[in-house]
């Protein structure tokens, strides 16, 4: 992908050097006006040069160039070679490498893709600094091997020259706009659209929708003709009508319904804060059929997991599980239904005379969450994992279900112990106690070896906390969750989006550092690289996570559409890694 973009950028620069006309007077043309109306995908970048400048300033502010991540990924021989080439080129144009990138990003960029026998790509660049671009191109043309490839009709009978780069890319300039295409015909179509001789994307209803939907301060936008793409994939048998895997089907089935019935998807990117980028997407589809009603459910009032010590992240989904499970034959294919049937049979073995679908799930209403947090150990297992807690609302007034679920948990632990004994592995001890006046069933190992294996990450505990049922892999996380749930019961927060995913970079980086040696080992064995190279990649990846303040995905599924918002926050990494602050393991 990067190679393709680099080639496209090079070709664009070549074109301007060979045929850059004087800057047009008045308002510059819109890049989207050069995309033919029949593109299947259109992407726009607004004021790219300014965003490049802001991005460069942000990297300096965060100290990225002094990080292990920079050392690992941007000081490889290949990258250094490319940077030297770019630096020399930029110097010849009187700028630096960032200046060259900004000039190439231009004032307005549009990219269109048409799918016919193969993907045909058209890129349109409206430069802001035409002089710098022209100087840059003088250098590029010496290396690119571009050759003239005839002309197409321009304005006032003045032909527009086309340049071919080894037959793989075709470039031209028209009214101060640089055009690049992967085939000559697409380039001619783009010129015709730009000159008003053929329908243009900017004159289409699709573009009107983009204009009306995308905020004016968005840095980039994308539009896809999903109906056409879907038809092609359906013909190729690559668009499943149902998601085969049961869990994935119950999580994504609503989104899939909208994606399967919509004619378009629109997305845009907004730098909503100095260190934050938000990408939003909108999928409008047909109304949910009755079989899918379980996907549209109100979220539970929020209790914040963010304050849990060592919080790593969470996944939250809001479903009417009872309705979904009752429609499983419609929502799943035969194989998926079979897999689910096996799961329900196994669950039945533990639940006894209580039926999961008929007796338990009708009482599970609201948002089910899986929270992850760091844990501390007497002796750190290898690998060290975070603790997880599954927290689900459970309307269980008299506590009958909770008692039944505790019995099921005891049977499950006994079963696990039976298997462990067969394998001569340590077994769980079970204990019941109370936490903040709530009964808790917890487990522990009676002896911890000096170098514990992976199973020592898991010492499950279960409890009914207020109107929630909690299954955690450590008692201390269960207690932290209990604190948050009980405190929120007193002062409930506003309802959040129904479906969420969040992850925080710093604790993940700490966990990876704990497992660094194993990660290096795995890379050496899996990739066949030496220790130095393996360590550089692992350390670089961990250092990259230090810059991730957080990443969040929120999804709201309504009757006729799905809204997605992905937010990423960057942060300056801590000077030294800090240990987790949660309590000790039991």
């Amino acid at each position: 992908m990067l190679g393709t973009l680099a080639r496209a950028a090079t070709v664009a620069l070549v074109t301007v050097a060979t045929a850059l006309p004087a800057a047009a007077e008045g308002d510059p043309p819109r890049a989207a006006s050069f995309l033919p109306a029949n593109v299947s995908v259109a992407i726009g970048l607004r004021d790219g040069d300014r965003h490049v400048g802001a991005f460069r300033a942000l990297l300096e502010e965060l100290g990225f160039e002094k990080s292990d991540a920079h050392r690992a990924f941007f000081r490889t021989p290949q990258i250094l070679g490319a940077r030297i080439g770019l630096g020399l080129l930029a110097a010849s144009a009187g700028t630096d490498e960032w200046g060259a990138i900004a000039a190439a990003a231009g004032r307005d960029v549009a990219i269109g893709i048409r799918w016919e026998q193969r993907a045909r790509v058209i890129a349109v660049l409206v430069p802001r600094d035409a002089t710098t671009v022209e100087l840059l191109l003088e250098g590029v043309t010496r290396f690119a091997g571009a050759t003239p490839d005839g002309t197409v009709a321009g304005t006032d009978d003045r032909p527009i020259a086309i340049t071919s780069v080894r037959g793989r890319a075709f470039v031209a300039t028209c009214a101060g706009v640089i055009l690049v295409a992967t085939d000559r015909e697409s380039l001619a179509d783009a010129i015709a659209a730009g000159l008003g001789r053929a329908p243009s994307f900017s004159g289409s209803a699709a573009h009107d929708t983009v204009e009306n939907t995308v905020p004016t301060d968005a840095a980039a936008w994308a539009w896809a003709d999903v109906a056409t793409l879907r038809t092609r994939l359906e013909r190729a048998g690559r668009w499943p009508t149902r998601i085969p895997q049961p869990l994935a089907a119950f999580i994504a089935g609503g989104w899939w319904h909208h994606l399967s019935s919509t004619d378009r998807v629109i997305a845009w990117a907004l730098p909503t804060a100095p260190r934050r980028l938000t990408v939003e997407a909108r999928v409008d589809g047909d109304a949910m059929p009755s079989s899918h009603e379980g996907f549209v459910a109100p979220a539970s009032p929020d209790w914040s997991a963010r304050e849990i010590p060592g919080y790593v992240g969470e996944v939250s989904v809001t479903r009417d599980w009872a309705t979904l499970l009752s429609n499983r034959e419609t929502l799943l294919d035969r194989a998926g239904a079979g897999t689910l049937a096996k799961f329900l049979t196994n669950a039945g073995n533990f639940l006894g005379d209580v039926d999961l679908v008929d007796d338990v799930l009708p009482h599970v209403r609201g948002t089910t969450r899986v929270v992850a947090a760091e844990q501390t150990f007497e002796a750190t297992p290898t690998p060290a994992l975070p603790a997880f807690a599954l927290v689900t609302p459970l309307a269980d007034g008299d506590g009958r279900l909770a008692r039944q679920l505790e019995k099921a948990a005891q049977i499950a632990f006994t079963f696990i112990n039976y298997q462990a004994m067969q394998q001569k592995r340590p077994t769980f001890m079970m204990d019941t106690g109370r936490y903040r006046d709530h009964r808790v069933l917890s487990t522990f190992f009676d002896e911890t070896p000096a170098t514990p294996p992976i199973r020592f990450n898991f010492r499950p505990a279960v409890a009914r906390i207020a109107d929630h049922y909690v299954i955690a892999t450590s008692r201390e996380l269960l207690e932290h969750v209990a604190d948050r749930v009980l405190d929120a019961t007193r002062t409930p927060a506003p309802s959040p989006p129904p479906d969420r995913l969040a992850i925080i970079g710093a604790p993940v980086a700490r966990l990876l550092r704990l497992n660094r040696e194993q990660l290096v080992t795995n890379r050496m064995l899996d990739e066949g690289v030496d220790r130095r190279r393996a360590a550089r990649t692992v350390d670089g990846s961990i250092a990259l996570l230090d810059f991730l303040g957080g990443a969040r995905l929120a999804a709201t599924t309504g009757d006729r559409g799905t809204r997605l918002a992905f937010t990423i926050d960057l942060t300056a990494p801590p000077q030294t890694p800090t240990p987790p602050s949660s309590g000790s393991a039991r």
């Binding site: 290898t382 194993q518 050496m524 064995l525 030496d530």
Partner: protein, 436 residues
């Protein structure tokens, strides 16, 4: 015996059997894995004696292999058997001591112990370490060490071998599979030897002798009577004439020919006997011998999957992904640390059937995909098609392709790296390449 009829007399190059690229490749392949062109050139220049001495004594280990070696304990401690296989294979791929690696593999099959019963990668790794430590030394010392090896004790039920209720599993395999072979011991020898090993247990992965479980009474083994223990049983087994012949035949099948004749077995047994079963000294003599380079013995042996895959990777100087290697080798019928039975892998013709042959061919095709030989062509400065063809036939076909293959190779045209990749693909999928 060191006369003209001695098959173990030192190899002397002649016009009929010159010391050339083909001979050097044969030696390196049999006493290690398929070699790189650089290794072949080096061997040709150094001569037989120096090359064999270097193989037997070993060179300083490559940094890469040493780095890998240090990872084993951590992998085993985490109980990751699949990754332990990948680890061992990567060590074989990058070691500068290929004969030592081959010997470890050979003894792993000889003392076949499976994690399916041991259920402890840590113990399996400890056994491999023991094997590696004794692989070229006196066989008696290795037997004594293996008799105390915790994985072996678990594998052959040593913990159940107690005074008054001897468990004969280890004693039986000691004679049948490790030292003598069927027909050279009696049931009484087995029973009495089991008594000698009573109390040789393991506790938490460490050898533990339990005096209270040991039967200290007199035993009669091979006609000798005394209060023997396990070490005595090993000594008595190796004193049997059949022991040197048993081991000689096995070494010959591994390194010289799958069908050694009586003269050859007798000669090598004599070497073993006279060296007090010193494996390194015996191999040094064998690898320098006329028998080793006998044209009748060349390309007669079907390499194991591990030899095949590691050999391809080493000779083509491919960067390998350990788990991918391990999976391919398992599909070819060899799962390290999990031999199929106490007898190990049957080997030779048993390695090939319609399924495993297809897997080998697929691996060969994958290793020679378009673009795969670019680095090799650059490294050896192959400037034209002829040089690329010559290179491929030297490292893959001992420089002597069949007429049909030669015609196919001659028809190749294109850039040197493209011709090299195509030539290697033709060579690696040829029937002659499947024989080492």
């Amino acid at each position: 015996m060191n006369g003209a009829g001695d098959p173990l007399r030192p190899f002397a190059a002649s016009s009929a059997t010159p010391w050339d690229h083909a001979a050097a490749t044969h030696l390196l392949r049999r006493a290690g894995f398929r070699p790189t062109m650089q290794e072949i050139e080096r061997a040709v220049g150094a001569g037989v004696d120096a090359t064999v001495d270097r193989l037997v004594d070993g060179e300083p280990e490559a940094r890469r292999a040493s780095e890998l070696d240090a990872l084993g304990d951590g992998i085993a401690r985490r109980g990751e058997l699949d990754r332990l296989r990948a680890w061992w294979l990567q060590r074989m791929r990058y070691t500068t001591r290929p004969l030592h690696a081959r010997l470890a593999l050979f003894w792993h099959g000889h003392f076949a112990t499976s994690d399916r019963k041991v259920k402890s990668p840590t113990l399996m790794l400890a056994q491999l370490r023991t094997i590696e430590a004794h692989a070229r030394g006196p066989f008696g010392a290795m037997l004594r060490a293996m008799s105390r090896d915790p994985a072996m004790i678990v594998w052959l039920d040593g913990d159940e071998n107690v005074r008054g209720r001897p468990n004969e599993n280890y004693a039986r395999e000691l004679f049948e599979l490790f030292t003598l072979g069927v027909g050279h011991y009696s049931e009484r020898d087995v029973h009495e030897t089991a008594r000698a090993f009573t109390g040789w247990h393991q506790r938490r992965g460490t050898f533990a002798f339990r005096p209270r479980s040991h039967d200290g009474g007199d035993k009669t083994i091979f006609g000798e009577t005394g209060p023997f223990d396990g070490d005595d049983a090993v000594r008595l087994a190796l004193a049997q004439p059949a022991a040197s012949r048993f081991l000689a035949a096995k070494l010959l099948r591994e390194f010289v020919t799958p069908t050694p004749n009586e003269v050859l077995v007798t000669a090598l047994a004599q070497v073993l006997w006279e060296s007090d079963f010193d494996v390194g000294a015996t191999l040094r003599r064998l690898l320098k011998s006329t028998a080793m380079f006998d044209p009748a013995h060349r390309r007669t042996r079907i390499p194991s999957p591990v030899e095949f895959v590691v050999g391809v990777a080493r000779s083509l100087e491919i960067r390998t992904r350990g788990p991918v290697l391990a999976r391919a080798i398992a599909r070819m019928g060899q799962r390290l640390f999990e031999p199929p039975s106490v007898e190990g892998w049957p080997g030779h013709r048993h390695w090939l059937d319609s399924t495993t042959m297809l897997v080998r061919l697929n691996a060969a095709v994958a290793a020679t995909a378009p673009g795969s030989a670019d680095r090799l062509a650059r490294r050896y400065a192959l400037r034209n098609s002829a040089a690329a063809r010559r290179f491929a036939t030297t490292i893959a076909l001992d420089g002597a392709p069949s007429t049909a293959l030669a015609e196919r190779l001659h028809a190749l045209d294109g850039t040197p790296s493209a011709v090299l990749a195509s030539a290697l693909r033709i060579a690696l999928t040829a029937p002659e390449y499947q024989l080492a």
